[in-house]
């Protein structure tokens, strides 16, 4: 148990110790929130959608979590050659424990990032409708973090170096974000986009967030929770398997 704790603690310490990285990674979500939120606000209102910042905030929170989680999973590639991971692979410790510690740590960091974005969005004018649902919102945020950290680790276990990284950024993460309904509602969308959004795990996460914070769920919160929960378990199982096969 102690082992899982120190691996978790290590992720947190690393995160908290690089202030510049924290601020840097908040830049993009913040920019999108303010630029798109205030930029599209008026037209969205006019088209009958209501307050765009309200709609957008959960999407941006989801974005922050998505990127932070996948990156912390991918850090493994570096760690494996030049860092602590090599140490852990040679120690008399089961890979499972290492995987659990690392995943929980990465997911916690992504969650903290999500919370910071949440606080910033409050400053920008976001107002959740019922505060009592906040713990549920946190649950969704954690589930999203867990899923994407697991995904990051699974992908990283397959890559040998950082080169595949660019590919992943552009062809996986960006589409996952943009096509998840983070930025636009599902009403009236072309069939193709809706189908893609249904395949995108992030859609369910963000929808769940919208449900808990704004009572605006498209798929239904229970469905979001179940689907997200099940795929998280699957991705963690696949991630553990791939992780256990890593050879340095």
């Amino acid at each position: 148990m102690n082992i899982i704790y120190i691996l978790w603690l290590r992720q947190i310490k690393r995160y908290l110790r690089s202030k510049s990285r924290i601020i840097g990674s908040l830049g993009q979500p913040l920019l999108l929130l303010l630029a798109l939120g205030f930029g599209f606000g008026p037209i969205y209102q006019k088209a009958g959608g209501g307050n765009y910042i309200q709609f957008l905030a959960p999407g941006i929170i989801g974005m922050g979590i998505l990127f932070t989680a996948v990156f912390s999973g991918i850090e493994i590639i570096w760690d494996r050659q030049f860092g602590f991971l090599k140490e852990t692979l040679v120690a008399p410790v089961s890979r499972m424990k290492i995987m659990i510690g690392r995943t929980l740590g990465g997911a916690t960091v992504a969650l903290i990032q999500g919370l910071i974005i949440f606080l910033i969005s409050l400053i920008a004018g976001f107002r959740p409708t019922h505060l009592i649902f906040l713990p549920l919102a946190l649950l969704f945020m954690f589930l999203i973090s867990l899923f994407f950290t697991g995904l990051g680790i699974a992908i990283a276990s397959l890559l040998k170096d950082m080169q595949g990284f660019q590919l992943i950024m552009n062809f996986l993460l960006m589409p996952l974000f943009f096509l998840s309904g983070a930025l636009f509602p599902f009403q009236g969308l072309p069939e193709a986009l809706v189908i893609i959004a249904r395949i995108d795990p992030l859609s369910y996460g963000i929808d769940g967030l919208r449900g808990t914070l704004l009572n605006l769920s498209h798929f239904g919160m229970l469905q979001d929770f179940l689907i997200l929960g099940i795929i998280t378990v699957i991705v963690l199982a696949i991630g553990s398997y791939l992780f256990s096969k890593i050879e340095v």
């Binding site: 082992i3 110790r17 860092g83 090599k86 140490e87 852990t88 040679v90 008399p92 080169q163 050879e247």
Partner: protein, 255 residues
């Protein structure tokens, strides 16, 4: 024996190292040294063959075998964003060293490598020599019977190299730790190792004490013996993903 696809990296080598011996593994680039160390330390699965450490079958019982050795890798494996003390503490926890002995040993080892007053400093601010000293200290926390070192003094200045070998000799002398290391620095191998094996193209081509090897090749220094046995041709290797990452790592460090 280790095969990567069609390429035979290590071709049926067989050797044994005596308890409390300091054993050096020498060879040109691409000879198979790092692959061998990886097989000995459970990082790579041999394609065939057996490995025994301290009497334990490494392939059948990974976990038990892992507690018998400590390793200092060629590439850094410290956590840059943690302090020296934290690096030591986490290693101790990973190897199941109970709290009281852990704390005692951390203090003892950090003082041994003269890093105790830097214990709360982040490792990223340490020089290459300091990092290496920390890695050696860290490898010894769980009092392993065997210490593996892959090119431990690569890139370090003579004072630091001297210090590090002194620590290792002291460990070997006082605690009876068996030491297995690889190096390109012939004078070190000559001065420190009790016995040496020279590997080339995945095979061991000579084995014995430094004196024996010099006699065998009728040369005056280990370096000459080595060149006599392996030839003077330069070994070209393709830069793989690892070399690219190393370059990247070095560039980051310089900033």
């Amino acid at each position: 024996m280790k095969k990567f696809g069609e390429f035979i990296a290590v071709n049926n080598i067989s050797f044994s190292v005596r308890k409390e011996e300091i054993f050096a593994f020498l060879g040109p680039n691409g000879a198979g040294k790092t692959t061998t160390i990886k097989m000995l330390t459970t990082l790579l699965h041999p394609t065939s063959g057996q490995v025994f450490l301290d009497g334990k079958d490494v392939i059948k019982n990974h976990y038990q075998a892992r507690s018998s050795f400590g390793i200092v890798f060629q590439d850094q494996s410290l956590d840059d964003e943690l302090t020296a003390w934290e690096n030591m503490e986490y290693h101790g926890i990973l190897y199941g060293v109970p709290k009281k002995s852990r704390r005692e040993r951390i203090e003892e080892l950090l003082k041994f490598v003269e890093l105790w007053d830097r214990k709360k400093h982040l490792v990223k601010n340490f020089s290459g020599g300091m990092k290496r000293r920390l890695e050696v200290a860290r490898g010894l926390i769980h009092h392993p019977k065997i210490l593996f070192l892959d090119e431990p003094t690569l890139g370090l200045d003579p004072q630091t190299r001297n210090h590090i070998w002194n620590y290792i000799k002291k460990m070997n002398h006082e605690e009876g730790t068996t030491v297995f290391f690889t190096t390109h620095y012939m004078e070190e191998a000559e001065k420190i190792a009790h016995r040496i094996a020279i590997i080339d193209h995945g095979k061991i081509i000579a084995e014995g004490s430094s004196t024996e090897l010099k006699q065998k090749t009728k040369t005056n220094s280990l370096e000459d013996a080595f060149l006599a046995l392996t030839g003077s041709k330069i070994r070209d290797e393709e830069a793989g993903a690892l070399d690219q990452m190393r370059n990247h790592f070095r560039m980051r460090r310089r900033r």
